[in-house]
Structures are given as structure tokens and as C-alpha cells.
Symmetry: none
Subunit: 232 residues, 4 copies
DNA sequence: CATGAATGAGACTTCATTCAT
DNA sequence: AATGAATGAAGTCTCATTCAT
């Protein structure tokens, strides 16, 4: 335990050289695997080291500790997804295609990594034990930003329904995605990413779209009736 | 009805006396709290014992170990939800109301427990470390059975769209629910269960419905109303 | 590392029973030895355990950690000295005898313990690493209180010189004592406690006394004696 | 003049070039700071290296290990004090002034270093863990030699009392000094070196001086009486 | 039945030190 | 000569679990 952590800098090495950078990458790659397979608590530094054939101490040469390592893993993974989305999003295409891209990209990145880092993020992110809340919330925000933006644009243009709060729309999109992912994880079944993504969008789209005018009116009628009946 | 009868037989002691049964219930109740608050790894047997004001050893008198205890907790919790759904589901009412009941019941049971046992189930369930996969899959199946049944009936009757696999429809329902729950957990925000459930169903319903079916339904409603009003 | 130390109580056992109290005493006794021999840093929990023939974990069953253990050791040791002084101080006797008692008691307790716990206290007490400052300062104050009180009384009665700040007088007494102790420790030489104490007091007393006072006192003694002898 | 010539030969590299000598000096300077601030155990080689902006390995190029480095630090520091005293001691002036010079010089060297290297020496010196005892005893002897010499001369000339062993007289001088130093360190208070030194000498002097003849006689009378009374 | 007591196994982390380049 | 890189050895601490009473 450091006596005066604010005075003494503990990080031994700044990963500057090519070799060091490679090491950092290796450790991050393997750590991602291990954290994903085992979750934060069951992941051990010794397993990470052993898979790399290096000493445990070497891991701590490059990362201050298990928590920091995990945060880097998660942060990098977020960055990848965010970058992939921001780079590839076809902004000039119709909204529906953009959504499709988003869903496909997410599913692909989640599943191709071969593991369930998502579970790590989702389940450990919330825990009060790991005090990562601060950083995670920020990452989460950046991560959902593209979808939020897309939905907001849709609402503004009138293409998407405006009678439902953005938050709920977001849940409507991410929710099933994550559910599918978990199902894939639990059942260990192989999923056809492209077709699943397309199916999901096909399913979601009508729910997101602004209802046609007649529908809108009719729905209001029905809702009014329900309220009236509820009062009886 | 115990969730895992094959486990129950392995128990050390048959809870014969009333006193012993009470003990078992107490331990399960508190364990549920602790597992929910902390997750499997961060939950400790000592905390469970301390909250009950009993010795750690006593816990092991009634349960073979931490894992078994956790499995009982999860199993019981599944049983409750399943029972609540099976008991209360208004099978004779329109499909939409049945769905609404399902969603409300789930949200209520998840949130009223005050905690995120769901997170425990969802995140720890998958882990290869805890070898609970077998039992969990079975429970999961029973747990989703009512919804699957409902959806199947809808498809059969033509009320729900048939061009999408059941599994995906299920994800469409459970996914946003869980997403909402997590959001509620992470942001610590209080959620209005009833209205959230209704909003969600309102949002989902059009997506589940056979295309054009909604329009048809509403039109019939309007016509029926006109007739009815004309009779007054 | 505890996730929520403020929520979960970590101490497993309250040392209530006779057996437990004996254990606590044993651990404290051996810990005192080890800390004294090795100093805080070089003392190891495993050595403490091994000397007792118990497992390391057992030590942590009774004490939250190494630091707490050390604090208890030091605290108890202070308590002993303080109690010995407060109990035995012959308040009705002349000041010089009281001082003699103080010096003897200190030297005896320091040296008879067979070790240099004093070095531990003196050298580790100041360190910023161990954040024990708070408690130590309080103990230190209680520990020096009897001497300070004695000196203050002497100044008030005019027996001790008033032209020197109390703090310096205290250093004049404790300083040589500690120096002697260290010398004894370093050279490993056996010290004749009683005579050393008396020598030291003989040396200190004139320096502490109000100037000229000694002369006056002695003259009066001689005169009194002459009268007394004349009476025989 | 190196403090420990027998160690110097064991050094890996003879500091031949001017550059190398500078390196050695730099490392020693910074090491002194670090050892003083942290104590032997809590000082780390990496902190020394970092403060110099060099690699840890470089430190080991010039010194065989941490222990040797520390010994050099301590040895050099002793050398400085010894040299300062031997050079500046005004041997032709009255004894009291010589003592004053000694005390002032010590306090100044100890305190100006800004740190408590003294604590390092005093507390770590004794430890059986660091086997530095041998060399330290020699250094200690050289270090106290000037004072011992001064006291011996005083006794020989009859200026200082002869009825107390030299060792005790030395403790009477060094003891309060060290006590004052520690107090200064612990309380972090700024000390006026010159006036403190003078106060201390003023206090000590009467105790060291040969008592006037009358006093001496009277004291013996009193002591005899005490013994006689003790026999009753 | 309940528990006080003890512990084995293992976790994370630190640091002086070595060695090839 | 200097260092980047790696590590063995060791340390503190946690926790599920066992067992005699």
C-alpha cells in the first residue's frame, strides 16, 4: 500500500517504445478475453499472465492494478464500437438504413469478439463495488450518442413518432439487441448476425415510425375511451 | 414446488421441523438481499449471517455451500415470478391486456424487490465459473414460457405477425423491459411501474401486430362505437 | 478490498469468550515481540503466526490488519507504563523522589520488556507512512503527563527553576533516558537500571532546581542535623 | 575520506571519470533525501531514480544494492558532521563555548537537512534486520568522539564533575538534543536553532560542572545519610 | 442444533534486482 | 555507460468451509 500515493508516482514505465506498446496491446487483448470469460471478480491477474506466458509482475509493470486494467479494457472496447459507428454511419441514406447499420455494427462487434464483454460491462458497470461509475457513465453516453442522435433527427423530421420520450425509444432499440446477445451467450448458439439485425429492424421500424395520420387519430380516440372507461 | 428438486435431495438436512423451515426461509430471504445487492462474488456468507444475527456455520448447516445457496435463491425467485404470472394471467381477456399484465407483473416483481436480482441472474447466470448453466436454462425456459405461449397463440390466431420467429418476438418484449430495469438500476431513478409498463406495451404492440391489423382493429372499434352511440 | 466497508462489518469475531481473550492476549504478546525486534515494516504477520504455531488467517480473525495490530500493541504498552506510573507515583514524597520513581519506572519497563518497543514507537510514530499520528499524539500526551505535572508542580512551588519552558525541561529528562536506552539497545550491554536511574537523577536534579536553592536546602539539612545530634 | 573504505572496494565500478563521480554524488544526494523522508523500508529505489530522472538500473550500476546505498548515505552524513565539528571546534576557547559550538553544529546539521536522517540512523541503525551494526558502531564512536574528548578534558581539568561516568554525561548532552529534534520532527514545528542550543547549554552546564566544594561536601553528607537511613 | 474457532487456498500487489542490448 | 524490460520472492489480506464442542 503506498504511503504517500500523491507524492510518489508508482507507474514504473511509460509505454513509449514499440516493444512496450506491443506488450500493452497483448495484455489488453488477453485481459479482454479473461474478463469477458470470467467477469471482473473471477478474472485473475495470474491467469492473464499465464496465458501470455509472462510473470504476473509484468502485468503490473504496465498497469497500475486490476481495476485500471479492466477499465482500459472496457474503455478500449467502447472506443472501438464508437469509432466503428461514427466512421461508418451512412448519414446521407434513409433513416431506416442508418438504423440498420447501427444494429448490425453493434451485433457484429459484440459477437465477433467471441465473448461477452458486454456482459461484463452491463453487469459490472452497475456494481457499487467497482467504483467505475463515473467513467462508465460517460462512456455509456458516448456509446449511445449515435443512436440518440439518429432518433432525435427522426423525431425532428417527423419520420419518427414524437409522442414517446427518447429514452424509451432507445430502450426499444438497445433492449432487444442486448436480449438477443444474452440469449446467444447463454444458449451458446451461433447467430446469423446480418439476418437477425435485419429482422430486428423490420420489427422495430413500424413501432418507431410516426403512425399515419388516420392511425394517429384513431389511436387517440381509443386512448380517450380507455381513460373514460377507466374512470367508471 | 421447489425449483430444483434434484438439488433439494442433496441437502444436508431435511427441513422437517417448523423451526428449521423458518431458518431456511430466513436465510433465503436475507441471502436474496445480499446476492442482489452485491452480486455473487461480492456477496459473502458472513454478511448473510451477520444480517440474521446468526453464525456463519449455521448457514452451512442448512446449505451445502455458497453456490447451492445462490441457486436456491435464484430458483425460488424464478418460481415466484412464474407462479405470479401463471396465477394472474387473464387468459380470457384480449391478447394486448394479457401482454400488459405480463409486463407489469415482471416490472413490479423486479423492481419491488428493491434490488437487482435480475442483474444477478442475467450476469452471473451465464458465467462458466458458476456451473449453473444447466438448471438456469430450464428455469429460464419456464420463466419465458407464459410469454412464449401468449405470442404463439397470437400468431396462431393471426393477431400477431407470423413472419418473424418467435424467439425474436420474445426478445422484442423482454429486451426493452430489461433495458429499462437496468437503466432504473444504474441511474437509481424511481420508475413509475404502471405507466412505464403501459407505455412500453403501447410501443411494442404495433410492432408485434400483424401489419395492417392495427388499422383494421381500430377501424372496427370506431365503427362499433358509432353504432353503440347511435343506440343511446 | 472491501467494496462497502462502511456497510459491511468485517471483523468476524468479537473477543468475548475466555478462549478468544487468551488468543488475543497471545497474539498481542508475540506481536509485541516481533514488532519490537523487527520494526513495523520488517515485522510480518506470518512470523507472528508461526511463533504462535497458528495460521496467519487466525491473526486476521482477531485483528483487522497489521496496522491495527501494531496500534493495539503500542497502545497497550503505553497503557502499561501510564498505569504503572499513575499507580505507584509517591505523590506525598519530595519531588526528587517522585522524579526518581518516574525515571526508574520508565527505564525498568522499557528494558525489562527485553526489547526495544520504544524504538518502534519513537521511530515509527513520526513516520507519515503509518497514519497513526492522531492516536499516537494522544498517547504520547498521556504518557508524558505525569512528568509534566510533576515539573509544573515543582515550578509552582518554586522548587524548580521557572526561567526555562516546561517543554525544554521535559526534553532534559526524557532525552537522556531515551539516549541511554538506545545505547543499551545498540551496544547490547546489560544496564543496571536502579543505579543508572539514580545517577541520572543525581545529574539532572541540579539542572532542574531553582539556582541556589540546592545550597540553601543542604545548609538547612546540615543545621538540622547538628541540632538533632546535639539532642542525643 | 570515505566512511567505509572496506565497502568502497567492493563497489562495482571505480568512479574514475568526472562524470561518474557526479553521478555518484547525485544519487547519494537524492538517496539521502528519500531515505530521510521515508525511512529505510519505505524508501524505494524507483523513487530515487525518478527524482533524478534516471533509470532504476542506473542506480544499481553505481551501488550494489539498496543496503549499500543506504550505508553510504549514512556514512557520508556522519563524515560531514564529524568533519564540521573537527574543523570548527574552537579548542582554545573556554569549555562552555566549545560545548555550545558542538550543540549548535549538531542541531544545525540535523535540522537544516530539512529531514530526519537522524531518525533513520537512530531507528534503523539498531535493527537486526539491516546488519549494519558493525559499521554503525564505529561511526557512532567517531561521531561522539569530539564530545567525549571535550568532556574528558573537562573532567581532567576539574572543570567538569568527575563523580559521574563519561557515558552518562554524554547521554546527558546528546539525549536532550535528540529529544528536541524528534519533537521538532513530530510536531513539524520550526525551531530557532541558535537560541534553542543556547538554552539547552545553559540548562546543561550547571549539571555538568563540578559542584563547588561546599556543595560537594554537603551532598556527600546527605547521600551518606540517605544510605544510613535506608539501612534502618 | 448452533456456533466458536481455525484455516487452506488463493487473491492482488510491491519491489529490489538482473540482464541483454 | 545507461536502460528497458522482466521477474522471483514475498507480503497483506479475504473468504468459504470444516469440525469439535
Amino acid at each position: 500500500m503506498p504511503a504517500c500515493p500523491d507524492i510518489a508516482v508508482k507507474q514504473r514505465r511509460a509505454p513509449a517504445s514499440a516493444k512496450a506498446e506491443q506488450r500493452v496491446r497483448d495484455i489488453l487483448r488477453v485481459s479482454r478475453e479473461v474478463f469477458a470469460e470470467r467477469g471482473y471478480e473471477r478474472a485473475t491477474t495470474i491467469e492473464i499472465a499465464q496465458r501470455l506466458g509472462i510473470s504476473e509482475a509484468t502485468v503490473f509493470t504496465y498497469f497500475r492494478g486490476k481495476r485500471e486494467l479492466c477499465m482500459r479494457v472496457v474503455g478500449d472496447w467502447y472506443d472501438e464500437i464508437i469509432a466503428a459507428v461514427e466512421t461508418g454511419l451512412p448519414r446521407e441514406r434513409p433513416l431506416r438504413e442508418q438504423l440498420q447499420f447501427l444494429v448490425r455494427t453493434h451485433l457484429r462487434l459484440f459477437l465477433i469478439q467471441g465473448t461477452d464483454l458486454c456482459a461484463l460491462v452491463l453487469s459490472e458497470g452497475r456494481s457499487k463495488g467497482l467504483q467505475l461509475g463515473e467513467e462508465f457513465v460517460a462512456l455509456q453516453r458516448r456509446y449511445t450518442a449515435p443512436l440518440m442522435d439518429l432518433l432525435a433527427r427522426g423525431q425532428a423530421s417527423g419520420e419518427l413518432r414524437q409522442d414517446i420520450p427518447l429514452r424509451l425509444l432507445r430502450s426499444l432499440v438497445f433492449g432487444p439487441m442486448e436480449h438477443m446477445l444474452w440469449e446467444a451467450i447463454i444458449t451458446q448458439r451461433q447467430v446469423d448476425i446480418e439476418s437477425s439485425a435485419d429482422d430486428l429492424v423490420a420489427l422495430l421500424w413500424p413501432a418507431l415510425q410516426a403512425p399515419a395520420h388516420e392511425l394517429l387519430t384513431l389511436r387517440r380516440l381509443r386512448d380517450d375511451l380507455q381513460v373514460a372507461i377507466g374512470r367508471c
